[in-house]
């Protein structure tokens, strides 16, 4: 039977399937056995209590949804007192996503989260719906380097950094995060988007802009994972449009060590567990002994192609 475990730095995940931050909570234990997951990823928390964005917070689009939640939460103290203990009841490592618009506050939050039951700090520097212009650290390599370095200094936990697909040059931002001291890159957050209702001419979301979430986006994010994996040395977690075991394989071939899943768990609450089951079967049917052998195993060095056309582009 295949060994599904993967290593992210010093941490071992029992399998490469994790939920995506904001699309998951311990409450999913009502429907799936959380102990089956590769990791538990808490919704992004902010230091101060926040109510989040105005409703409606979701609207369906051509092929997916746009959403704008605005990181609601009851603040760090409530999180440590009430939410961390909920997650601590389960075996998989707890990855805590955190966010702030202010570097000093962010570092303070990171140090406050440096507690035993938290296994990983995931820095969400890429939430497109935090403020109405959608700006965030991960849009710029300099901002990324700075905030990651500050977080690195503030915590001894493994530091994962979640990047934005809205950045024009994802490779430079990724390299900046690596230089800043990230242990792992999470690629990517949602795509800044807008829907206008043609019945009343108004934006469909209370917050106007929202993040697009759709299986349709997987080829874009996969391209980013592939490009970044060729340049950085740290592991990557691919997030975007995973709905089946083959999507996990595709991200791993592109260079990801694990994946995160949001949308598929909304569509099928049992999706994460069945994707793990399917991935095991997929590997077993093909005699793959370690799923980690798939990481970066894309065959891009010996492309078969129509020779004439190839010649025309000088390949």
């Amino acid at each position: 039977m295949v060994d599904l475990s993967v290593r992210i730095g010093d941490l071992t995940l029992q399998n490469p399937v994790t939920p995506a931050s904001g699309a998951f909570s311990w409450e999913y234990n009502d429907v799936i056995d959380l102990n089956r997951l590769g990791g538990l990823v808490a919704k992004t928390i902010c230091r101060e209590p926040r109510l989040g964005n105005p409703t409606p917070r979701m609207a369906e689009t051509e092929a997916g949804i746009i959403q704008s939640i605005g990181l609601p939460g009851k603040g760090i103290q409530y999180f440590l007192d009430h939410i961390v203990p909920e997650y601590a009841k389960f075996k998989p490592p707890l990855i805590v996503s955190a966010s702030s618009e202010d570097i000093d506050e962010f570092a303070l939050l990171a140090s406050e989260l440096d507690v035993p039951d938290v296994d990983v700090l995931e820095a969400n520097i890429s939430c497109p719906t935090r403020n109405t212009t959608g700006g965030n650290f991960a849009m710029h390599e300099e901002h990324t380097r700075k905030v990651v370095a500050a977080l690195r200094a503030a915590t001894k936990k493994p530091l994962w950094v979640k990047l934005s697909p809205n950045a024009g040059d994802i490779v430079s931002v990724a390299l900046a995060a690596e230089e800043g001291g990230a242990d792992c890159l999470v690629i990517a957050n949602t795509f800044l988007s807008l829907k206008i209702r043609t019945d009343n001419f108004r934006p469909a979301l209370g917050n106007k802009f929202g993040g697009l979430v759709s299986p349709a986006l997987k080829p874009i994010v996969l391209r980013m994972v592939y490009q970044v994996a060729k340049q950085v040395k740290i592991p990557i977690i691919g997030i975007g449009g995973v709905t089946k075991a083959e999507d996990v394989v595709e991200y791993m071939l592109a260079g990801a060590s694990a994946v995160g899943i949001g949308y598929a768990g909304f569509r099928n609450p049992t999706a994460l567990v069945s994707i793990i089951d399917d991935l095991e079967r997929w590997c077993d049917e093909r005699g793959i002994e370690k799923v980690s052998d798939l990481i970066g195993a894309v065959r891009d060095d010996d492309m078969e192609m129509d020779t004439l056309a190839a010649a025309s582009i000088g390949v």
């Binding site: 909570s25 009502d30 609601p72 089946k244 609450p269 049992t270």
Partner: protein, 289 residues
């Protein structure tokens, strides 16, 4: 070369006779079989779905989250929440009463007996009856009736008397009167067509019930006007109450915070999740519909 995958979505939902490999679960993703799906009137359909026994644990006020088939060839990307209209334990079925609105419910309306239907639930916190409540008043309109119907059943099982005030545009589109009556409720119908559904008239009816000690609690769903009325009257006359609220939902598990509504609790405004903190809330805390 290995075969290309065929399945777009991985799925291990429980079919009717499946062994549950995770029996601790409170909520299931079920593949049920449609038993019937008939028009209740020109806008509403009534669907009966046979499901895995686990799904029958649904109680009054809870909902299922439905994966609707496509009405037009293009995928329906999000589930749609729908209250449990009735649980028929003997037949192993859950039932829904729904209005055909947009793409999701139009897709649902196309399902025929024998078709599979993927439903997740039961979800949410339903209605609760305090032991001291012997006579309750249920006020519903439109979709709200679907949500309130199982409350009448719950009341009957608990020996609580129900007065049901059913509001509709006109007698033709009134629904569920027979069903409420079959559950032993005294039904009062009010209509827009003859003016009887006007707030002042319903208020008079409620005042009468309070005077007769037939209103230990108010329950409402489906009308902002009825909510405001029962809130005001309840506050003035000390009648407690519960309201079932709607909001656009994504996860259904309390994780995503899409489905929030505003409430006022002890003078402080807070947001609560319809899918997990509700859909049934303390009527006096609700701020607007």
């Amino acid at each position: 070369m290995w075969p290309e995958p065929c399945q777009k979505y991985s799925n291990s939902a429980l079919r009717i006779d499946d062994q549950d490999t995770y029996p601790q679960r409170l909520v299931g993703e079920f593949v049920g079989l449609v038993v019937s799906n008939d028009w209740a009137n020109a806008e509403y359909k009534h669907m009966v779905v046979r499901v895995h026994p686990k799904a029958l644990e649904a109680y009054a006020g809870q909902m299922f989250h439905l994966l609707c088939p496509s009405p037009d060839g293009a995928e329906v990307w999000m589930r749609r929440p729908m209250s449990v209209y009735r649980v028929d334990r003997d037949a192993g079925c859950v039932e829904f009463l729904y209005k055909t609105e947009g793409r999701g419910t139009r897709g649902m309306a196309m399902l025929k007996a024998g078709d599979e239907f993927n439903i997740a639930g039961p979800l949410g916190k339903g209605f609760s009856l305090k032991p001291e409540w012997k006579n309750i008043v249920v006020l519903g309109r439109g979709v709200g009736l679907a949500t309130l119907a199982p409350l009448a059943q719950l009341a009957r099982n608990s020996g609580v008397r129900v007065t049901a005030i059913l509001s509709a545009r006109s007698p033709e589109v009134l629904m569920s009167k027979d069903y409420f009556e079959s559950l032993g409720a005294s039904v009062v119908t009010v209509f827009d067509s003859d003016g009887s559904s006007a707030v002042e008239n319903v208020e008079t009816i409620l005042e009468g019930l309070i005077a007769d000690s037939a209103a230990d609690a108010f329950f409402t769903c489906g009308s902002a006007r009825l909510l405001k009325l029962t809130q005001r009257l309840g506050k003035a006359r000390g009648v407690p109450g519960q309201v079932a609220m709607e909001q656009i939902m994504v996860c259904g598990f309390g994780a995503c915070y899409v489905c929030v509504r505003t409430f006022e609790v002890g003078g402080v405004k807070v947001l609560k999740r319809v899918c997990r903190d509700g859909p049934v809330f303390n009527m006096q805390e609700a701020v607007g519909w």
